[in-house]
C-alpha cells in the first residue's frame, strides 16, 4: 500500500501549497503597512521573495512540460514498437512463403528435367504434378525455429534491463532525497520542493523506461536485419533458379 500513500501526497501537497500561497499573499499585503516603507531591507526581502516564487513557479511549469513531452515521446516509442512487431510478423510470413516458393521451384525443375530428356513424358509431367501438389514444405519448420531463436534472447535482455535500471534508480540520490522530502512538508518552500522532486522523479522513471524501450527497439531492429539478410539470400537463390528454368523453358518452346 505504499503506492496508496504515495497517491494521497500530491493532493494534500497541492492543498498545502494553495493555503500557504494565500497566507503568503495576505502577509505580503499586510507587511508593507505594518513594517511600512521605513525598512528598506524588508522591502528588498519582499521583492526577493516575490522573485523566488516566480522562479519556483516557472521551474514547476517547465518540469511539468518536460514530463508531458517525455510521456508523449513514450507514446511515440510505443507506437514504433507496435509497428516493429507487426513488421516482424510480416517478415516471418514472407520468409515462410519464400521457402514454399523454393520448394515449388525444386519440383518444377524436376519436371523440366523430365521434359527435356523425354519429350513424350508430358503425360508423366501432368500426372506427377497432380501427385506432387500437396507437398510438405520441408525447410519451413527449420527456418521457423531458426527465426524464433532471437526472440527469447530479446526477452532475456529485456528482462535483465529493467532490474538493473530499477536498482540504479533506487540507488539514485534523487530517490533518497525524495523519500526524505515526502516526510516533512510544512512550509511552501517544502511544498514546492516536494512537488518538483515528484515531477523530477517521474521524469527519471519515464526516462529510464524510454531508455529500456530504446534498447528493446534496437535489439528488435538488429534481429530483423538478420532476418532480412537471411531473406535476401533466399530471394537471390530463388531468382537464379527461376531465370535458369525460364531459359530452359524457352529452349524447349523455341525448338
Amino acid at each position: 500500500m505504499s503506492g496508496h500513500n504515495y497517491v494521497t501526497n500530491p493532493n494534500s501537497l497541492f492543498e498545502d501549497d494553495d493555503v500557504d500561497d494565500e497566507t503568503f499573499l495576505k502577509n505580503s499585503r499586510v507587511n508593507p503597512t505594518s513594517a511600512n516603507s521605513t525598512n528598506p531591507f524588508e522591502q528588498q526581502k519582499q521583492a526577493f521573495e516575490e522573485k523566488r516564487r516566480e522562479i519556483e513557479n516557472r521551474t514547476l511549469e517547465s518540469s511539468k512540460r518536460s514530463l508531458g513531452l517525455l510521456i508523449e515521446t513514450e507514446e511515440v516509442g510505443k507506437a514504433t514498437a507496435g509497428e516493429l512487431q507487426k513488421q516482424r510478423e510480416q517478415l516471418e510470413k514472407t520468409s515462410r512463403q519464400l521457402d514454399e516458393i523454393g520448394a515449388t521451384l525444386r519440383f518444377s525443375q524436376k519436371h523440366l528435367n523430365g521434359l527435356k530428356s523425354v519429350f513424350g513424358g508430358l503425360k508423366n509431367y501432368l500426372a506427377g504434378n497432380r501427385e506432387m501438389a500437396p507437398r510438405p514444405p520441408p525447410s519451413t519448420s527449420a527456418s521457423g525455429t531458426q527465426m524464433g531463436s532471437p526472440i527469447p534472447q530479446d526477452n532475456g535482455l529485456g528482462a535483465a534491463m529493467p532490474i538493473s535500471a530499477e536498482d540504479r534508480y533506487n540507488s539514485h540520490p534523487i530517490n533518497r532525497l525524495r523519500s526524505d522530502e515526502v516526510v516533512k512538508v510544512q512550509s511552501p518552500q517544502k511544498a514546492f520542493d516536494s512537488q518538483l522532486e515528484e515531477n523530477l522523479g517521474e521524469m527519471c522513471e519515464s526516462l529510464s523506461r524510454l531508455k529500456n524501450l530504446g534498447l528493446d527497439l534496437k535489439s528488435e531492429i538488429e534481429s530483423q536485419n538478420d532476418l532480412l539478410d537471411n531473406m535476401n539470400d533466399k530471394i537471390e537463390d530463388v531468382d537464379i533458379r527461376m531465370s535458369k528454368q525460364n531459359k530452359e523453358m524457352n529452349k524447349l518452346l523455341g525448338k
Binding site: V7, T8, E72, Q85, N155
Partner: protein, 291 residues
C-alpha cells in the same frame, strides 16, 4: 462534360457492344477474347472517369469489369477490380463501396486469402467509423477482421483491430466487452518484450471501464492488474485511478474534477478518455447515495 468523360462513355458503349457480339459468334475462342477486350475497355473507361472525377461512373465501370472477370473465372482479378470500384465509390457512396468490398472479401475468403479479406474488413470498418451511426457496424467488421488476422497468425494486426472494437464498445456502453478485450490484449502484449510498454495503457483503459460500472470492481481489478504487471503500480495511470476511486468513494465530485485536470495538464486526455471520465462523473452526480 469533359473530354475524358466523353471518351469514357464511348468506351463503355464499345465494351457493351463487344459483349453483345459474342452472342452472335458463339465460338469459344473468339468469345473469351471479346470478354477480355470488353474488360480492358471497362477498365480504361473507369480510369478516364477517375480522371474526370466522376466517381459513381468510375465505380460502375470497375464493377462491370469485376463481374466479367468473375464470369471468366479469374477470381483474383475480379477481387482487385471490386476493390478499385469500392475505392471510387468511397468518395460519395458509402453503401455501394461497402457492397463492392464485401464482394471482394467473399472472393478472397473463397481463395483462402484471409489476410486480404481481413484488410478489407478493416477498411469497411474505417468507412463506418467516420459515420456516427455506423459505429455498431464498424465494430462488427473490426471483429471479423480481428478473427481473420488471428487465423493468419498476424497477432499484432488482430490486436489493433480488437483495440478498436474495445474502444467503440466502451463508447457504446458495452463495458464488459471492452474490459474483456483490453485485459486479453494487455495479457498478450505482456509476453512480448516490445509490446509490454503498451500494456499499461490497456490496463488503464480497462480500469476506467470498470470504474464506469462499479467502484469496488474497479479496485479489485486494479489490484489484479498490479499483480499481473508490477510496473503498473508505479505508473501515473495507476495513481490517477487510485485518486479517482478515493474521490468517488467520498462523493467528492470537485476533487474528481481537480484530479482529472491535474492529470490532463501533463498528458493530454484524448476524446475517448474525456467521454468515459465525463460518464463516470455524471454517474457520481446522478446517484449520490447509491454505493
Amino acid at each position: 462534360m469533359s473530354d475524358n468523360e466523353q471518351k469514357g462513355i464511348q468506351l463503355m458503349a464499345e465494351a457493351e457492344k463487344k459483349l453483345n457480339q459474342r452472342g452472335f459468334l458463339g465460338s469459344l475462342f473468339g468469345g473469351s477474347n471479346r470478354v477480355e477486350d470488353a474488360i480492358e475497355c471497362y477498365q480504361r473507361a473507369g480510369n478516364l472517369f477517375k480522371m474526370s472525377k466522376n466517381w459513381a461512373k468510375a465505380g460502375q465501370a470497375f464493377c462491370e469489369a469485376a463481374n466479367l472477370h468473375a464470369k471468366a473465372g479469374s477470381r483474383h482479378d475480379a477481387a482487385s477490380n471490386y476493390v478499385d470500384a469500392s475505392n471510387c465509390y468511397k468518395k460519395n457512396d458509402l453503401e455501394e463501396a461497402v457492397a463492392c468490398l464485401l464482394k471482394a472479401i467473399e472472393i478472397y475468403t473463397d481463395m483462402g486469402r484471409f489476410t486480404m479479406a481481413a484488410k478489407h474488413h478493416q477498411s469497411i470498418a474505417e468507412m463506418y467509423e467516420a459515420d456516427p451511426n455506423g459505429l455498431e457496424r464498424a465494430v462488427q467488421h473490426y471483429e471479423q477482421a480481428a478473427d481473420y488476422f488471428k487465423g493468419e497468425e498476424s497477432l499484432s494486426s488482430a490486436n489493433k483491430c480488437l483495440l478498436k472494437v474495445a474502444q467503440y464498445a466502451a463508447q457504446l456502453e458495452q463495458y464488459d466487452k471492452a474490459i474483456q478485450i483490453y485485459e486479453q490484449v494487455a495479457a498478450s502484449s505482456l509476453e512480448s518484450s516490445l509490446l509490454k510498454y503498451s500494456a499499461k495503457e490497456y490496463f488503464f483503459r480497462a480500469a476506467l471501464c470498470h470504474l464506469s460500472v462499479d467502484i469496488l470492481n474497479a479496485q479489485h481489478a486494479l489490484e489484479r492488474y498490479a499483480q499481473q504487471y508490477p510496473a503498473f503500480q508505479d505508473s501515473r495511470e495507476y495513481k490517477f485511478i487510485k485518486t479517482l476511486c478515493e474521490h468517488l468513494e467520498e462523493q467528492n465530485v470537485e476533487g474528481f474534477t481537480d484530479a482529472v485536470k491535474d492529470y490532463d495538464s501533463i498528458s493530454r486526455l484524448d476524446p475517448w478518455y474525456t467521454t468515459i471520465l465525463l460518464r463516470i462523473k455524471k454517474q457520481a452526480n446522478d446517484n449520490p447515495d447509491l454505493r
